[in-house]
């Protein structure tokens, strides 16, 4: 087991524990950044997709994982960001301005939503946001002159510093775009968590009364959390739009909202890792299932659609298995595996056995 001796407060403030850990993350980043050289276009596309979902997950994680405000409606903000981006681009705004602006506008939209949502907790907030997501679908249809209605909108490539960045035309460039957004958002998120603001989010999540007594303005904090969360979601939405190239009201249905929440819960609420791990599951698992279907089909013979809806069914079962296997999310499991290795061979068999735990009502605020 590595023991880090602390000699300096900066060691706790900087985001990595020691040089070793920093190296690991840099290597990981390098491996991902060189993906175009070792992945074909299809898998590169999938990786891009996973990264976009991860960004969306980070957005929701701020609000739900760190501020404790469950949202079942973040697809609405994905949609907002996506349309804002496209509409700005269509108006001739260059991408490098349109894209950040799309996120900021979405953040502002988030604040507007936050105002009536401030007094809501738990399932009430969840259903409130879910209703927003459902309404967003209708609003896109009704706002046809701006949004293109049910016919939807299309987005070809964009130009950045003279390079064409297009999901289909230049997938490698697009991947890098997405990767850089993901890295930037992650860095900002890390910074946030080690600063007063991030801590006030956690304070609001764990106890509103005592957060208040410590001078944290609950309403303001929630509002900022909404703003940041929605801004990040807006960027994810913009990228999602660019990724699919074509989108309409159905692209951001309430089902996407639900999947987003599933994603961060399965990944592990309240951790940045969780957003990425969850994105791998929700973003890639369906694709993985339909790929493995071929092999299963090959073994058992028969045609390629043996049973209708099988993929969704299996997807559901696997998600159930994930939750049963690790209710605290994949990141929790990952920590345990890491500890196991670090302690090897001094781990105890029951070390990670869950002690019985009990819940108390959340109806008291």
């Amino acid at each position: 087991m590595r023991i880090v001796f602390k000699t300096n407060y900066m060691q706790d403030i900087r985001p990595w524990k020691d040089a070793y850990q920093l190296c690991l993350y840099l290597i990981l980043l390098a491996v991902v950044a060189t993906a175009p050289w070792w992945l074909d276009d299809f898998y590169l596309g999938e990786l891009t997709n996973v990264l976009i979902w991860a960004i969306a997950g980070l957005g929701l994680m701020i609000l739900t994982g760190h501020t404790g405000q469950v949202s079942l409606g973040h697809a609405a903000f994905l949609a907002f960001g996506c349309y804002a981006n496209v509409i700005l681009l269509e108006a001739g705004v260059p991408f490098l301005i349109a894209f950040p602006l799309a996120g900021i506008l979405t953040g502002l939209a988030g604040v507007t939503v936050a105002i009536p949502a401030l007094r809501l907790h738990g399932i009430y907030l969840a259903i409130f946001t879910m209703a927003l997501s459902i309404l967003m679908d209708d609003v896109i249809v009704l706002a046809e002159p701006i949004t293109g209605g049910v016919a939807g909108k299309y987005l070809g490539g964009v130009e950045i510093f003279g390079f064409l960045v297009d999901r289909w035309g230049t997938p490698v460039q697009f991947f890098w775009l997405v990767l850089s957004v993901a890295v930037l958002v992650t860095l900002g998120y890390i910074n946030l968590l080690r600063a007063p603001l991030g801590r006030s989010f956690i304070a609001v999540r764990d106890s509103e009364v005592s957060a208040q007594a410590m001078g944290v303005d609950i309403a303001r904090t929630k509002m900022i959390s909404f703003a940041l969360s929605c801004a990040v979601s807006g960027w994810a939405g913009a990228l999602m739009g660019m990724f699919s190239g074509a989108f309409n009201n159905e692209t951001f249905s309430v089902l996407i909202s639900i999947q987003l929440l599933m994603m961060i819960v399965i990944g592990g609420l309240g951790s940045i890792h969780g957003a990425f791990l969850g994105a791998i599951v929700i973003g890639f698992l369906p694709q993985f299932l339909s790929i493995s279907k071929e092999y299963v089909g090959a073994v058992f013979g028969g045609n390629t659609v043996a049973i209708p809806g099988l993929e969704f069914g299996i997807f559901g079962m696997i998600l159930i298995a994930f939750i049963l296997f690790e209710p605290m999310g994949l990141y929790g499991r990952w920590l345990k595996i890491r500890t196991w290795f670090e302690l090897f061979p001094f781990y105890r068999k029951d070390m990670f056995k869950r002690q019985k735990s009990y819940l108390k009502t959340e109806r008291l605020r």
Binding site: V70, P116, R119, L120, H121, I123, Y124, I127, F128, M130, A131, L132, I134, L135, D138, V141, L142, V209, V254, I258, L261, M262, V265, I266, L269, I307, P308, G309, L310, F312, G313, F315, G316, M317, L319, I320, I323, L324, P327, M328, K356, S357, Y358, L359, K360, T361, E362, R363, L364, R365
Partner: protein, 291 residues
């Protein structure tokens, strides 16, 4: 006249929402978990009954199939808790929420596998019969829905507020640890409530399938019922019914009087409005914590 007709059929529909909402609230009241698969449970209940009754399947007499299918639904609810939910005992409720959402996928898949994806109607003795008073028409199924829903809500309400087991369930939802300290077999009690929710879903499914047709995506109705439960104040049984009725009634009036494209917004707009003015629903069950 016209409006009276709208009101009556809205009430009948609202009762179906209310029945599903009742299932949500039952589980919430006893465990504080939210069962997002309640709508899919209802769909399953409908299909189980169709599978027992309809001539192309087993063709049992309706009144025989009825108790059997409710029994099956109860057993399914219990098994679900026994085999899956119980393993999450003491874990955060979000885990249960996600699990039940995923469970919904599985139920939809299973139903499609067994009964196919085409809409089916329950063959039942009430089919086609109707009651008329004045110029109003009300299908016998609608009458059945209204009567059954009211009785069920009343019965469950009494159960929760008057019986020792009902009280124990409320206690268990508020503090599992304390409930254990009192000697309440919390897990068994929760198994019971899941079984009960299964039965309620079965009743809802049967009534729904008698009123119209079902296919595996019918469970999505659960979303609206969930909204209804929240409008009523999640955790209150009469509230669930009230919420269901409100949503049920507002729908026909909205589609009658509001322009196309806007009318379907009505239930959700109402939900937002209710929550803005009453953040914990109409019959609130939430308190400010005393420190």
């Amino acid at each position: 006249m016209d409006n009276a007709q709208l009101l009556i059929s809205g009430l009948a529909n609202g009762c179906v929402y209310g029945l599903i909402a009742l299932g949500f609230v039952l589980i919430y009241k006893a465990t504080e978990a939210v069962n997002f698969a309640q709508g899919d449970f209802m769909m399953l209940g409908a299909f189980v009954t169709i599978g027992l009754t309809n001539t192309e399947y087993m063709g049992l007499p309706f009144w025989l199939a009825l108790p059997i299918s409710l029994g099956i639904m109860g057993a399914l609810g219990y098994l679900l808790d026994r085999l899956i939910i119980r393993r999450l005992f003491g874990e955060s409720q979000t885990a249960v929420v996600i699990l039940t959402i995923a469970l919904g996928f599985v139920i939809r898949f299973a139903a499609g596998l067994i009964w196919g994806h085409e809409p089916q109607t329950l063959q039942n003795p009430l089919a086609g019969k109707e009651v008329r008073f004045g110029g109003l028409v009300l299908g016998m199924e609608d009458v059945a829905v209204i009567v059954v829903t009211i009785l069920l809500t009343w019965g469950l309400y009494v159960f929760f507020s008057r019986t020792k087991l009902g009280l124990a369930m409320q206690g268990a939802s508020q503090n599992q640890l304390a409930a254990y300290y009192m000697g309440i077999p919390v897990k068994r009690v929760q198994g019971f409530i899941w079984a009960l929710a299964g039965v309620v879903a079965g009743i809802a499914g049967i009534l729904f399938a008698a009123k119209g047709s079902v296919d595996p995506t019918t469970g999505l109705l659960g979303i609206k019922a969930f909204a209804a439960a929240v409008i009523g104040g999640f955790g209150s049984l009469p509230g669930a019914l009230a919420g269901g009725l409100i949503v049920g009634v507002i729908e026909p009036f909205a589609s009658r009087y509001i322009a196309a494209g806007y009318s379907q917004i009505a239930p959700y707009a109402l939900l937002l409005a209710v929550l803005i003015f009453r953040p914990n629903g109409l019959f609130s069950q939430v308190r400010v914590k005393k420190v």
